[in-house]
Symmetry: C2
Subunit: 202 residues, 2 copies
């Protein structure tokens, strides 16, 4: 059972993942994030987030896909084959939104690339934490951390990503559930659980 | 004018690149190698060669493609657009042979991936330094260096790579020139120059 969380930066995915992991602890969920979760992916994450490094849009899409391929082969596929519940913070849809739409590479081309990377793995349920780009950016800015290379993108980038998420969710309504990220955190968790709980064997 | 050099490990590409660069110095060739040539690609090269790191076949193909995408965007495309002669030690065909055939991912899938990475860039001439896999391995072993993750592959891997090179060359005879890597180095260089010189404006 693969449950993925998606949304632009500042939507509150990290908070929701932690809440879901706690609420679903009787199912012993594995909690993973992208890019990361295995040594190669963590090293690739550091590369692609480095503000000093020049990374072309195509190279960026390929680095994320490489990190994803390693996570699938080394951890995700074995967990799913063993029947585990997996909560995954970002997956293929993030690349469709960020690199396909945001960077303008095209959702179709990035989808093909990721089908190669994952062997065609598709989540059972995807939660979209939906937030207005300006509100998301304000939240990220309010964290007081230094911004990485991707967070520095201009507003048009974030609007393209947010619109792409809306289109992806509209195209596959059986997989996606949209949650208003501006609700109080406890209400966000409640809605997420309502979407996920029916899928889980008690 | 993009001239690429291909062949399995131990074929003598590095020696030939150096010889060609010297012999063609009146054309002021740019000399590049893959994976490498730009900061991101050098960092990716270190990752994928690290014997301690677990790298799945798909992740490996994607890391090489990412390094290649960055090299094309940042250096190779600008050099070619400026009319420069470029000598490139390994390019897309290495991935077709090593990851497509050697790792069994399929030449077609790896070709699609690399068309995305390079924007469809194809060399003007490709020199295949052809060597029997056993002879190539003996040369690499004779260097006395510690072997990296890919050099440690078993013989069947190298035979698959060598066969794939033969098939790629046979499928595109106008682009490929095959040179017997067991000839003396000065004869290898002579044959390479005979293939390349007619392409260059004096």
């Amino acid at each position: 059972m693969l449950i993925t969380l998606e949304g632009i930066d500042g939507a509150g995915k990290s908070t929701l993942v932690a809440g879901l992991a706690e609420a679903l602890r009787e199912h012993d969920p594995a909690v993973l994030r992208e890019p990361g979760g295995v040594a190669l992916a963590e090293r690739l994450r550091a590369l692609v987030k480095d503000p000093a490094l020049e990374v072309s849009p195509r190279a960026e899409a390929l680095v994320y896909a490489a990190a994803r391929a390693q996570l699938v082969a080394q951890v995700l596929r074995p967990l799913l084959d063993a029947g585990r519940v997996v909560l995954l913070d970002r997956f293929v849809d993030s690349s469709l939104a960020y690199q396909g739409a945001g960077r303008g590479l095209g959702v179709g081309a990035v989808r093909d690339l990721n089908a190669f990377a994952t062997g065609g793995l598709v989540p059972d349920r995807t939660l979209l934490l939906r937030i207005d780009p300006a509100a998301g950016l304000a939240r990220v800015g309010g964290r007081g951390e230094e911004q990485d290379r991707i967070e520095r993108e201009h507003e048009a980038f974030w609007i393209a990503c947010a619109n792409a998420y809306d289109e992806l969710a509209a195209a596959e309504p059986a997989r996606w559930a949209i949650i208003d990220a501006l609700l109080p955190p406890e209400r966000v968790l409640e809605e997420a659980l309502a979407q996920v709980a029916p899928l889980l064997v008690p």
